[in-house]
Symmetry: C2
Subunit: 417 residues, 2 copies
């Protein structure tokens, strides 16, 4: 076959050459929505985009000028594989807001916390290893675990977060099957997609179980500072240092376009993280790290987080009010922070099958199956209220109600026959 | 053991939990030099840092302001997993300078070309697969291949680049051993570390052999535009589209602190690259991509590349003059572009063992063993002339001569007995 024939189509001359892990890649349900989101007439309650318009550009302009004036040639040069030392020191203060004591030595800056989780997963996961996770769990994490050919075991999770009793049962079940658990992955605050927070009462129990069973905890906390009324309980990492790897991010409290996150890990794991990072991309961007460092040094970043909290609180209220008005019979979680509502549809309504109908009605959401590694979640869906205005959230949920009500009526009709 | 005891030391509670690939990580010979490089009294001819001071900051300031004025909220938001469409279109023009015709659809922006190579390696390399590479080859690539548990087979390379005859012999040898070749990795222009360029005469022969043997070529080209006198021959990708994945980078023609590179791949491979990238880090940084896009749109970027070419040409001349003056008996490559000289030491002198003595004399280089996956290269070393001033290059090579001459004298003395 000539090159001309090959170009421009998807015939693949290299099918016989891929590694086994290449088989794990598939177009995600969330990704398929990206093209929908970009159409202005659609109210997208799908993607988890922060409302970056609430960040004044003057704050960034000042950070840029300060950075270039003070250390312009360092900002555009290669940096160290562990990340900028000044920024690491500033992150210590950020983490202390959730009770975490740490040292700059144990922090690694990453290209978003997603890449931190990718590097960690590469360090720990062999094929068929088991990861314990909330049910439902973050779609991006499930994708990583799948890519490393690991299996996810979802642990029952309710309005107080992961159930300690269910965790013990899951561990016993996996061990009885002779499978190896590598870590417990959880998002303890305003979880994606459920919006629930692990209660203060359950935290020490989860820690105690994992310590007893010698299971590492990966605590992923991008939303913890975006609470509406009460600060969240202290981080798991605040209580236990050796058993917890903590992931943080600037994507939601500042802006995701910088791709800067961080990992706080026990020393031996941190050493391996740095080496894995150097192998994968030499070093994270000096430019974006130093921008954030100058922003933290000179801007009122705590006040900016308060601004974001206010924006998301208002939008959460708008979303719950619209749910109450248009879909009063559906169960929804009622988050105390973060970006998401998790909705339970009437029995028999399939959120994935319904999505094209919703898009036709100019509203988008994320189907529940995206958040399970085991094919469940058909009658669930995630609504993200962080990006649209309160008015558009109301319009979107009204449109969604039309679609759901039509589905429910159809089901009733068929049931009646 | 208590948490307090664990913190601050390197005892590892999780030794039993790591994946097999975690064993592949070790502190590289180049990395160990980073602490040395930072001491101002040491002339470092070690790391491959571009001389970013030759880039006027006004050009970046204009790019920043244009970007934020035109699309500030997009620049700090999540972007697509394939990278910014405008930048991809601009990269097409950049690649056309080396004869490459391409479409925006087949380009993927990555977090430096290092991460492009990491993602590609993840798509293709299973344990014990074979990668063919120049001998010597880029240390960062060898680290990636090792991390994916692949084996590297070095192909004999001389002053005209990789030998086609040796390539055929290596392929025959590996096939006879029943091992599977996944791709040929090469840096055809001003290679790291050797400085040599694959001749125009050999390029079609390498392409023909790989096509006949159905071996994918990964063409890594960070230095091609940094020629001193004559432009390099057309890229392999300019001739063959389906059999070549092309890696490019802004690290050497603009600045590495942005961490922006790109991959041009056949459609099926490109699709998998995008999915792998989304899994690994969701998307590359919109902020750094759009900075570069504005720079390319409004600055005289070709003139800036000419400036860099002039800087490196002058430094190469200074390095070769100093070699001629202080180490006239040693063989060195004489590059026509790029950053590196590759030096052959007298038989019996070990560059790795000699490094601490060199550092004591306040000069640093990279030992030759770093650039081989098979433990060879003991009497080789790489000198990087891109970062120090011509005066410091001369001082550094003079110091190096003292160290080498002392080693040679010692060897002669022992040989005489």
């Amino acid at each position: 076959m000539s090159n001309e024939q090959q170009q421009g189509n998807n015939l693949d001359s290299w099918l016989d050459a891929y590694a086994a892990r290449a088989e794990t890649l598939s177009v995600s349900e969330v990704r398929a929505l990206f093209s929908v989101v970009s159409r202005p007439e659609v109210v997208s309650l799908a993607g988890g985009m922060p409302y970056v318009s609430a960040l004044p550009q003057e704050l960034l302009a000042k950070a840029y000028h300060d950075m270039m004036a003070k250390k312009g040639n360092l900002a555009i040069q290669y940096g160290g594989g562990q990340g900028d030392l000044v920024l690491r020191d500033q992150i210590r203060e950020l983490m202390s807001l959730e009770g975490i004591q740490s040292s700059v030595e144990d922090l690694v800056i990453t290209t978003g916390s997603q890449h931190g989780l990718d590097l960690l997963s590469g360090l720990f996961l062999d094929k068929h290893d088991v990861v314990l996770a909330e049910g439902p769990s973050y779609v991006g994490a499930l994708g990583i675990f799948r890519h490393y050919e690991a299996d996810v075991e979802h642990v029952f999770t309710d309005h107080d977060g992961m159930s300690p009793e269910a965790l013990e049962e899951s561990i016993a079940k996996v061990k009885a099957e002779g499978r190896k658990i590598k870590f417990l992955y959880l998002v303890p605050n305003f979880a994606n997609p459920s919006g629930v927070t692990l209660s203060a009462e359950r935290r020490p129990r989860i820690l105690e179980i994992c310590k007893r069973e010698h299971i590492l905890i990966i605590e992923d906390n991008p939303y913890g500072l975006l609470y509406f009324n009460q600060p969240v309980p202290d981080a798991l990492r605040a209580v236990e240092a050796d058993g917890v790897v903590y992931l943080g991010s600037f994507s939601k409290i500042l802006a995701p376009g910088f791709r800067v996150g961080y990992v706080l890990a026990p020393p031996a794991i941190r050493d391996k993280m740095v080496l894995a990072q150097e192998s994968a991309l030499l070093c994270p961007s000096s430019f974006t790290q130093m921008m954030i460092s100058e922003y933290l040094a000179n801007a009122d970043w705590k006040g900016q987080i308060d601004t974001f909290r206010g924006v998301y609180h208002e939008r959460k209220d708008a979303a719950l009010a619209a749910m109450h008005e248009y879909l009063p019979d559906l169960h929804t979680t009622r988050p105390d922070g973060g970006f998401y509502l998790w909705i339970t549809l009437p029995e028999g309504v399939d959120s994935k099958a319904m999505l094209p109908l919703a898009v036709k009605e100019l509203v988008a959401y994320t189907p529940g199956t995206a958040f399970y590694g085991d094919g469940t979640g058909h009658n669930k869906l995630r609504l993200c209220y962080s990006y649209p205005t309160p008015e558009n959230i109301k319009i979107g949920i009204k449109r969604l109600a039309n679609v759901i009500n039509l589905q429910t009526e159809l089901l009733e009709t068929f049931k009646g026959r």
